[in-house]
């Protein structure tokens, strides 16, 4: 009797864990369609990338990816539930099945891709770590920062990059550990550190929000590669394909000049065969990934093509004022290169 109870418990536990693992690897597409809602992991708040407004509507560069995926899968960009994730909870939230997609400015690295069992589906923003200093410090290059005190956010890749960079250049520094961007700005403004380092996009936003941006400069050196990429769970390749090609569709749309303004027109009378295939006018590419014919059209209509999203959320027209730089199309000297839709 006792033995059978024990065995029963073990069997039940095994089935339980097996079931949970199955869910994590199972058919995310089916689950999303059944739910009628995409659950998207986003940042708890990062200027330009993800932030809710006064009435609680999320917007931003990462949020646009969520909207595009929801539009591609469910036909409606509004059918997204945003789950704010912190730096500590983001990957666990994804692998435990709490979110379907993680669009949260996470750096694509080897160990995260392999050891943490994530699948990064392609880079949506090429970032890099930079330094900001006060102009009156008289520093014009990061190489002159020997012995400086530097404000650095703990527990991030930026912390490791900083150590690497100073070691490689045989310099020393005094770290001032901070917990969040807001605290970093405060410490830097109060003069607790000579330089503030974080991703260049974050530095630009921070500098733009200062009362006296003209008194601060961002040093030209970019000391690390920070390819920020949306991620999905490892193992559900079909779902990975959907998110990957949704991002590619946004990038390709910019390359082919498909915008949210002219998309309806191009869908019916475009001469370009690639555009026809992309928008479902000729081949039915959607069927191959389990979506309907209009998937890419819906995704692009959600908030425009890659260039439109960039311009609306973080581009030069916005107060953040980021230049396209590496994030320009390959035809413009950038790194964005969507594989052919064929």
């Amino acid at each position: 009797m006792k033995k059978s109870v024990l065995l029963g418990t073990v069997a039940a536990t095994a089935a339980f864990i097996g079931g949970a693992a199955m869910a994590a690897e199972g058919d995310t597409l089916k689950a999303v369609k059944a739910r009628g809602e995409l659950i998207c992991g986003v940042n708890t708040g990062l200027v330009g990338f993800a932030a809710p407004d006064a009435s609680g509507n999320w917007a931003g560069f990462d949020v646009a990816i969520c909207k595009a995926v929801a539009a591609a899968v469910l036909g409606d960009p509004a059918k997204v539930k945003y789950v704010p994730t912190t730096g500590q909870t983001r990957f666990t939230a994804l692998s435990s099945g709490e979110v379907d997609v993680l669009a949260r400015n996470s750096t694509y690295t080897f160990s995260r891709d392999t050891d943490l069992k994530l699948d990064f589906i392609g880079v949506n923003y090429y970032d890099g770590q930079g330094f900001m200093v006060r102009k009156d410090l008289g520093v014009t290059s990061a190489k002159e920062l020997d012995g400086a005190t530097i404000c650095i956010q703990t527990g991030t890749t930026t912390e490791l990059n900083l150590a690497d960079y100073f070691k490689a250049n045989n310099m020393s520094y005094q770290p001032v550990n901070i917990d969040s961007n807001a605290e970093g700005e405060q410490q830097y403004m109060a003069g607790a550190c000579d330089a503030y380092t974080t991703d260049a996009s974050g530095l630009a936003a921070t500098r733009a929000a200062f009362a006296d941006p003209e008194n601060h400069i961002i040093l030209p050196e970019i000391i690390s590669k920070e390819p920020l990429a949306p991620a999905v769970r490892h193992g559900d390749n079909n779902w990975g394909d959907i998110v990957r090609w949704t991002l590619n569709a946004l990038i390709a749309a910019e390359e082919y000049g498909v915008t949210s303004a002219n998309i309806e027109e191009l869908a019916t009378n475009s001469e370009n065969p690639e555009v026809q295939r992309l928008l479902g006018a000729s081949d039915d590419l959607g069927k191959m990934i389990g979506l309907d014919k209009d998937w890419a059209k819906n995704a692009i209509k959600a908030s425009g093509n890659y260039g439109e999203i960039f311009a609306k959320t973080i581009g030069e027209e916005t107060p953040i004022g980021l230049a396209r730089g590496l994030n320009a199309q390959w035809t413009q000297g950038g790194l964005l290169y969507a594989p052919p839709f064929r």
Binding site: M22, P52, S55, N181, A182, I320
Partner: protein
Amino acid sequence: MSELHAQTVSFVRETMIPPAPPPTRQTGALRWLRENLFSGPVNTILTLLGLAIIWFLVSHFWDWFAHSVWNAASLAECRQIIAETWGEGARGACWAVIRERWNQYLFGFYPMELYFRPVMAFGFLMVALAPVLFSESLQIRRIVLIVSAVLTLVLMAMLGSPMVWLAFAAVVMIGAVVIAERHAPWLLIFSVLYPLLGIWLLWGGSLWPQIMVLASIGLGWLAWKLLVRVSPLLAMVAGVLVTLILWLVAVGPAAEDAQRLIPLAITAVDSDQFGGFLLSITIGVAGIALSLPLGIILALARRSDMFLVHTLAVTFIEFIRGVPLITLLFVASLLLNYFLPPGTNFDIILRVIIMVTIFAAAYMAEVIRGGLAALPRGQYEAADALGLDYWKAQRLIILPQALKISIPGIVSTFIGMFKDTTLVVFVGLFDPLKGVSDFVRANFAWKGVYWEPFIFVGAIFFIICFSMSRYSMFLERRLRREHR
């Protein structure tokens, strides 16, 4: 005054000397100052030092407060207004961020048109608490009830509550005020029902689960009643079992069926829409209400002679106290997902409430154990001598005294727990201190605002915690039985 001596005495005062005030050195502010602030060299030095510190702080922060801007659309506009009004380089507080985002600090992403529901739930909470907190002081209870009734109704009207709800709240509130005057014990019925009502008002959805839960408790009570003549223990077990089994098996389906028959639902609000002080107060109140009874049981269990009960209680308390709250929260938010069957939606706020409750209960148990240990042995022996059984002895003699001794400790555990609710930010919930502030700052308009949200949130926390501490002092005075 007669005229008799008018001619014989050279001077007669015809009126009294008017009473003169005591010398200035012996009265009023001057005396107070001399006695309290400058009574000796050490005191004088300390006073001057204190004044210097206050002066230092005020002189540094005064202009910042004085240059407050309330009307602006962004931090940049605030800075511009400050520069225009008080000159270039002037510092100033930009309270406009609070003015624009106060609703998110208080309610998170709760739908705006439904703000009246949490307000109503909070007002009803006051009604539910009044008979418990002020059971002996009628005057104070009356004031609390009337003030909370008026405030709730006014706030609900200001937040655009529909007339139906306003009428409902008015009936409940005014009814409570009237009943408190006539049959005060009846109010306790409302206190007992409040958890179900409060949950319904906050999360919305169908009312039927609440009714079904009540019904299953009723059936459990019936089972107890039927069996209590046979054996009190059996009756207790049967009652609890019936209720639990009904909860697990019948409540869900029955509520759905009933909902199909007679729809009785209001707009549902998801847990992830909770935030700000609504979230803190929900978690705090639930944690406080649950951790006190749990803590009492744990404290009694720890002092029990029964080996298993004692060991389990010690293990539980020491384990929970040995683990940081953040660890428990991470377990609640992340680890549980791996173990629960796929697709289970175990509400995140509920998970956090459970973790916060067991955390606070472990501390509570030790505070109450201190109270139990402080009672002289004679009290226990007296209870035994009266022939009371264990539960009666605890209920009538031991616990009332032990709890009274532990009041300051209990309330500081409550206050600590309430402040700890801000830690939920680490599991992705929007606590008012950091969670809401982070996303408010993530909007470019308010990027760079730093102190204002902290001061605003800190002030509200202070008001709530200070009230709790004042209440504990009031309760101590009220329960003082020694004639000192």
